[in-house]
Subunit: 312 residues, 2 copies
Amino acid sequence: MKKSEFSFIGDIAKMCASLPHNDFEPIGDDCTVIEIGGEEVLVATTDMLVEDVHFLRWASSAEEVGEKSLMVNLSDVAAMGATPVATLLSIALPAAAQGEWAEGFMRGYYDASARYGVALVGGDTTASTDKITINVVAIGRAHKQNIKRRSRAKVGDAICVTGKLGASSKGLVDIMFGDLNTPAAKIHRRAQARIEEGKWLGKQCEVHAMMDISDGIASDIKHIMELSKVGARIELKCIPTDYDIRYATTGGEDYELLFTVAGDKVESLIERFNEATGCEMTKIGEIVEGNNVEWLENGVPTEIELKGFTHF
Amino acid sequence: MKKSEFSFIGDIAKMCASLPHNDFEPIGDDCTVIEIGGEEVLVATTDMLVEDVHFLRWASSAEEVGEKSLMVNLSDVAAMGATPVATLLSIALPAAAQGEWAEGFMRGYYDASARYGVALVGGDTTASTDKITINVVAIGRAHKQNIKRRSRAKVGDAICVTGKLGASSKGLVDIMFGDLNTPAAKIHRRAQARIEEGKWLGKQCEVHAMMDISDGIASDIKHIMELSKVGARIELKCIPTDYDIRYATTGGEDYELLFTVAGDKVESLIERFNEATGCEMTKIGEIVEGNNVEWLENGVPTEIELKGFTHF
């Protein structure tokens, strides 16, 4: 399923490259960048959440789905180094979800919007015959020179991540087995976007490429490689995780940041980042020439086969 | 169903009014207006289309659904007096629609985007378990003084519409009875937004309030009345239509423009509008004091009960 999703968005991007650009950038980054004629730019992103594909009604509360719908979009804005300012929300609700569930959803969406100071400026609510579908558009602002793109990784850069990886997908497995309250399950149900961390990293010129981790680094690093025309070498032992390495590399929905840093600046950045944000960042590898990911285990190439995350 | 949809978007707007505004306008118009710090503003709108609520897969080709998804959003941009420049598209597809249907959809979306010079700048494609759901966000640009709002109608204004009303809903009924190729059914299947007309009307200062007609004038005029704190008097015999007056007043999806014009300027505007755009505009009533719609038939108040359009 994931495969066909990816190829379809690729087909769309290719087809639409021949449309007029109207000063917008083509599809490819976490957000599109909108020139508004000054030192500032706007960024915009859209994400759709479908019941039984991105969330299970029995496993997440309505409030949690509301919060998550916002967070996955704010995470894309953060990954550009921008500040989220507004969202537009569309929601299709079957009759059974129009009362209590809808109210819970809005409470979760509202509370998270208030926490991050984001306005709700447009919306569409409609009926659906069966499943809940949610679409959120997030709009951010940034100084032009702070915008980070997937295409700017350079050979010799250190590959870094924020926080720890793998908890969200481990939590999803816990939930599938009926354990809704393990530490990992709680992290899965309440994804938090790295807004302040993204803004701070946006201001550092030694940070070259950046994106958020939604499908696992094994899959997501390829987007940076493809757009930057580089390869990557990643040391499994360096990946910060409390869980099995498969969760940490191919598990999705961590919403941590994946970014590359000028090789000689990474040590000092790690310290300054932690001081400024209270969050850890970890170097997990280097950008190299070529177009492959080489996975190392204690410095030795390993044949481990790592596929990207498939939403159930 | 419609009732609960409307009250839910109302609840959302009310709840979110207490969020920070970040220089955005609150929900209420066809689009939100985004200040970008000069003479120009951006506008943005979002619309969700759900299979079996907004379209039937057996009754519309994939190309037609693609075109319609774009058009309903461009219509909202046109209704602000703005020029559409870019869209973001999210689409959830069940397995059975991922091949041929998806390609047809994109052809329709692409062709219409090319025709109106609109870029596609962001997207999300995902699987769904059953139904197709589409969400489009349209972004437009306009000079600040050309933006038209629902809240600006004044007592004494003429109430006007572009084109003819009722064909789309009559066409939907034809389709439900199996007649997919009547003139009205063709209009229903290929909604066209009044882009050039909206832009032209945006430049005329005697045009006060404007919106597009998506649920029928009986329902839509109430949005202008509520936000402008005025009443309306409409003469049924003046409503331009080739069909039963119920289609023309309560039928949805005409995507014509509904607007109010300074009473003493309407005659000359009708002429200039037709010369400039090749499209007809018709005066159908006046804005009056109060908060009711008074329906007249040959100048005599009528008791006709007119409800807004309910998507099947």
